[in-house]
Assembly symmetry: C2
Homo-oligomer: 355 residues x 2
């Protein structure tokens, strides 16, 4: 692998202009583009023990929405106040460094996305292990791969399947939001593991993508219903449900899981975007069918990232795993990208090319 | 231990009269005494390969309620139709036997309770492993102990704590319905394991029982609220929640669990007795705090019963574990016993003395 020419072009100090994406107001229901704004801001001033980074490729993640309401979920990162800048995973290039192990031109991953330039203290990572400043191995793949498959997206899919749901090759697996970033990786990983995999998504195009492009055993559009397609595509029930949606999707999973089934509670996008949380009324099925519902955050498994990254890179190089990108150009497109991703208009990993 | 004189008195054939408890109609909301009736029925006729049993001590279990509505929960035993006899765990004495290993006078455990006499085919156990015909070791303790602590009640408490919730000595544990059969055993087992244990129950008397008689570290009446007492009794949060109630109790647990906390979903009595299932609206806490919610039925761990029974009998003999009984006299009292137990009017293990 060689890195693409798009990235890593050093620019002169004179050209440096900084901008950041700020929360204008807490969304009233679903996030609107106008709830965010891209504003000029001061260029960060290099400081001892810090690394100055020019951001190149922003990861647009559903979890970002969790910090935009007045209160964030328990155990999660604190809510943002109006006027504060968003944060999020991003790949950048080191411009200046006062930290050993980081040199100008290095490609790095960190958590101060949603801005053109970031000044990072590697010893003070407010966003925790998931956002720690790490140098990227360009040999493993291009930056797009690092922001998705080889980053937290890949780790999330891997941890949910193997650590949380204890996936076995003879499992029948249902993955919701399967055309999304984590879902599409999880679906392909489960296929590569030998499982029968059913995916759901919210449009006919995505359903076609799941069967034709990702090669799933079955796929359906949840807008047409959940129970009938599940009964048809997994007539003997499912063993593992990888939940990216929550709400009625989780309710359907509890109905269709076989005894001793497992649920990886990865995300609950049905409840993120200003919609009231929908609670499954059939949760007692967990008791009557010996089900295991286990929530997780990928950061818990961050120590496994180097090993997982290597495995995923091998699967990618061998063609068993693909990563499709929904690309947006320029920081000014970030608000639209976030809104589109949350409303289900993107397929694959949503990224914003910043430079 | 010797068996008590109350049990095992052989009676003559002439005195044999049989009765059974039948479902009159599906309950309209909470079960009423009049929804059940005790009616004379034919004495079972001894048959080849069968064991004729005189029932002595009936176990009254909350799960019995799950079969009284028109539809039972998924994966559970089928619903009863009006006119059908109830079933349930019971201890009896063998009257006649055509099966090797069972002789007249033997004390046995089986699943055809709610009647005076039962004819059991050990090879055809409709209620599964939990109700399989087993000979009881009178040396381990009196029949009351076998129907509770040394039977499925004890196995349920043990499995929920150690197999499902992976209990560790430094865990802070909350047990709901802690003055009930399973709850009181689970609470004492967690104490014996070294944990800090908080119990909840539905009356001041039960709360006093939990602290004064069972020696829990804290107890509260859920009718006065859940969040304030939990915040006070477990200010740093809880690690394990043993759920016998579901509904708002589970919601409170999700709020008060620490990251990486575990929930043993044992029962959900809040939703059993004609009340609509209450779903926790904060289930996303499972994802944001890496929680594990695991449902289970004790029958899944039936192969561990001999070993668990031995351990529990030792704890009982050493005085570390006690079993209080709510006793009802005669099969004619069974409907009242079931209604009392479901509405929270009993403390400890609810039993009906049949003979």
């Amino acid at each position: 692998m060689t890195s693409t020419a798009t990235y890593g072009t050093t620019i002169g100090t004179a050209e440096r202009v900084n901008r950041e994406v700020r929360l204008v107001r807490h969304p009233d229901g679903a996030l609107a583009v106008g709830d965010l704004e891209v504003v000029p801001t001061e260029m960060p001033v290099m400081a001892p023990g810090h690394v100055l980074i020019r951001n190149l490729l922003l990861s647009v993640d559903a979890a970002t929405r969790l910090r935009l309401d007045p209160v964030s979920p328990p155990g999660y990162l604190p809510a943002l106040k109006p006027g504060e800048a968003l944060a999020g995973m991003v790949i950048g290039e080191v411009v200046e460094s006062d930290v050993e192990g980081f040199a100008p031109g290095d490609l790095v991953h960190h958590d101060l996305g949603y801005r053109d330039y970031a000044l990072v203290d590697p010893g003070n990572q407010a966003l925790g292990v998931a956002g720690a400043l790490t140098r990227l191995d360009r040999e493993l793949g291009p930056p797009e791969l690092h922001v998705g498959l080889l980053g937290m997206t890949g780790l999330t899919a891997w941890a949910g399947l193997f650590e949380v749901a204890s996936l076995k090759p003879d499992d029948v697996v249902w993955i919701s939001a399967a055309a999304g970033a984590v879902g599409s990786v999880a679906a392909q990983l489960a296929k590569a593991h030998g499982c029968r995999v059913v995916g759901s998504a919210g449009s006919a195009d995505k359903v076609a993508y799941l069967t034709d492009s990702l090669g799933l055993d079955g796929a359906f559009n949840w807008r047409d219903g959940l129970d009938e397609p599940l009964a048809e595509l997994a007539p003997d029930g499912i063993d593992v449900y990888f939940d990216n949606v929550g709400g009625d999707h989780l309710r359907a999973a509890l109905d269709h899981l076989r005894p001793y089934g497992r649920v990886a509670l990865c995300g609950a996008i049905a409840g993120y975007d200003g919609r009231p949380p929908q609670a499954p009324e059939n949760l007692f099925a967990a008791t009557s069918k010996d089900l295991n519902l286990r929530g997780f955050r990928a950061g818990t498994y961050a120590d496994r990232l180097p090993e997982v990254r290597k495995n995923l890179a091998e699967l990618w190089e061998s063609g068993q795993l693909k990563l499709d990108l929904a690309r947006y150009e320029g920081l000014e497109a970030a608000p639209e990208a976030v809104v589109d991703m949350l409303s289900g208009r993107t397929t694959g990993k949503c990224v914003v090319l910043l430079a």
